[in-house]
Symmetry: C2
């Protein structure tokens, strides 16, 4: 097989001049590859796929096998890039109703990505009396959300299954040398994996941050990485297509990019994409606002707005080629619902016509359309998609004129929260915020 | 108790002139209530809560009890307004991990809201060999997505459990007299409920469309309706607040409204809201683009963009007062993670400080902030919230100068899809679209 994901931009760029943008994109790619641009201490993801060796994958596989052998549930604790990548890949590859079905290893759950008290209560209630493991993912080990969740579940696991079981079934993914979690892991003798210094959170899914949870969920991380390597080696044409098209559209007043899928399992891939692009480009009062929809579901909610609201949108459709299974539409003698004209067809045939019909309708309505084709949803092509989006994000961000690898705005809420919580060291900020609130 | 949801707009309107808007809003409310505006044949929702009597609720309760008594799974088949309302309320009131837990009646599943072949396959695989029921919701009975799903699961249920079991455990929610589903239900002797002619899909959650699935999931629909009645009778001040604020912001260049929650169970309430506002307002090349985020999760993905991207956003925070359960943050002797300063606090205390800190940070960043406070997540307050959003949508849409009760743009993709599928009656459209594609 020599299939690859493809970007088709012909319905996006009609009437737009892109020659100059092509040169800009080539220059941005050169800046990225030569490491001469902004944020160039965070380019570890660029050659990450091809640098992962068999030994590393085997080590991760061994930890995954340990967790799979003893645990009914594995709680992945992390937020942002330490959550979305694994969640996205696992969902894209899983049975839609895996939560309801037993068998095939532990259920992978996610905690520490919110501060929901009832959420944590319901999860505690779920794993109570059941053997569970923990993958705790944090560069520093002091981030509030995962910190709280890890305190709670570590404490619970040690009480419930004993210290030794906990030591065997807690794995830490953290900084190589520094930080609270590194220190704790050393003390407790947890297995550990490293978050490289030069890979930012939203680019980390192909490090142990994503690979370990994905392996625990039973998926083939070797194939995932191999897919990413294909795009690292042969993906530049698609990368340039996408980066050029979205910058051309943005400069022509298209302020919102809607990532649309017709495949429910891609829902969280879009959430991962929103972090990747929103956090990379949303700075200095610029950047395309990333939104996502699941079609045809959301054609019956956001469809009207996309078809006929403000003409400041463009749409990027993720189109999956083959389905894994076949379901045939049954025939009905009486045909009261009038669907016999599609009886005997498989369901995806109808979905593909809905997809094409939707693209044409939105184009007619003034919504430029980009198409990204994915041969099917398996590890290889999801790996391709990940690397493709990452590299296109780097190129696109440089074309926009921002540092795509920082996220200074994420600190603002944290600083206020620490002040309000009266965290030691924030005394001045506490006084200031209290004065402000009492005004 | 005399608690109600509240809208607080003081951090949204600083420096904006709203006096004229107040008069406009009063006029729009008058137009709505007098039934003299556009789309006035779809105002049945306006006095719906107070017109539901005990008898209707009891009948729905009886159907729900039948399904609960014989079924392990109940598949709700519907799309758009025949899906999102029930889904939103059930999620808002459910255990976060209900899918993993047994007990308390049947699991409620949703089909017919997409055309995912693997999605349907995985659901078939789930219910195979298990007793299940179906609630099929469609005004016409010929909508493609639910039509396909209903064919498949009706056929499967009759083969698996026999015709009589199917007749007992299929309930149709449809037109009072006309349509394919009404005809079929009469032939088969299904229990039926009526979708009123004067209530559009996105305003239908307090009809049997929403009430029956919600009752099957085990929730108190009497309390839900009672909450809605409270807002029907005493909600106008909040309705006006919200409608005025969002129109003021839109006219001042705020093109995107982000509905933010700090309570994961509100995720689908936001999806319902997106349909309500997007489909009502997104027409004639205008309307606020509705987006949603789950915080603090998405502070680590969309947070950067909200804090510092294009300043065309405003934010509406859904703030839930009390949690249902308590989880205390444990103390740790070594305090490596530095979280002992919040040990002994309950988790929601931290979440509330995150919420306040986030609002202040976003306001400082130039994102006007609306706050909607909800005393807690139970049937009563969810009912309040639903009616509040519905009425504010009507007022807001009239202020925008559109018909908030139609959705002409939703037909565009369907027409193309039918042409591509060569549906009988679409011969001309088929020829035209093929010619276009072959160009």
């Amino acid at each position: 097989m020599n299939e690859k994901i493809q970007v088709i931009s012909k319905f996006a760029l009609e009437g737009l001049e892109t020659q100059g943008l092509h040169d800009e994109a080539m220059a941005a790619k050169q800046t990225l590859e030569s490491g001469s641009g902004l944020g160039n201490d965070f380019l570890g993801w660029l050659h990450l796929p091809s640098s992962i060796d068999e030994e590393q994958l085997q080590a991760i596989g061994k930890s995954a096998a340990q967790l799979r052998s003893e645990c009914e549930y594995v709680i992945c604790i992390g937020i942002g890039g330490s959550y979305l990548g694994a969640k996205a890949v696992i969902e894209a590859l899983s049975d839609h109703f895996a939560a309801y079905k037993s068998g095939n290893g532990p259920k992978v759950l996610f905690a520490g990505s919110n501060i929901g008290e009832d959420y944590l209560y319901d999860m505690i209630d779920l794993v109570k009396g059941h053997k569970f493991g923990i993958i705790v993912i944090s560069k520093s080990g002091t981030t509030t959300e995962p910190g709280i969740a890890f305190r709670i579940f570590k404490d619970m696991l040690e009480r419930q299954e004993g210290k030794e079981f906990a030591q065997r079934n807690i794995v830490a993914v953290t900084d190589a040398r520094r930080g609270a979690l590194r220190g704790l892991a050393t003390q407790e003798g947890y297995a550990t994996y490293v978050i490289p210094d030069d890979v930012g959170g939203r680019f980390s899914v192909l490090t142990p941050v994503g690979l370990l949870p994905i392996a625990v969920a039973g998926f083939d991380i070797t194939a995932l990485v191999a897919g990413a390597v294909e795009m690292e080696r042969e993906g530049d044409e698609q990368v340039l297509n996408y980066a050029i098209a979205r910058n051309a559209l943005y400069r022509n007043g298209k302020k919102i990019e809607i990532l649309a899928n017709f495949t429910p399992r891609l829902h969280f891939l879009a959430e991962w994409w929103k972090q990747l692009y929103g956090e990379s480009e949303g700075k200095g009062h610029k950047g395309i606002f990333p939104a996502s929809v699941d079609f045809t579901t959301d054609l019956h909610s956001m469809g009207q707005m996309i078809q006929d609201g403000e003409r400041t949108l463009f749409e990027t459709v993720l189109s999956v080629g083959d389905q894994d299974h076949e379901v045939i539409i049954p025939s009905d003698e009486k045909d009261l619902d009038g669907l016999n004209y599609i009886a005997g067809k498989n369901v995806d045939y109808v979905n593909k016509m809905a997809e094409l019909g939707t693209r044409l309708a939105h184009i007619d309505g003034g919504v430029p359309n980009l198409l990204i084709t994915i041969p099917r949803l398996n590890e290889r092509f999801v790996g391709q998609l990940i690397y493709f989006f990452e590299k296109a994000c780097g190129v696109s961000g440089y074309m926009l004129g921002v540092n795509p690898f920082d996220q200074p705005g994420v600190e603002a809420y944290k600083k206020n929260m620490f002040a309000l919580l009266e965290k030691p060291g924030y005394e001045e900020a506490t006084a200031a915020i209290k004065a402000k609130l009492n005004k």
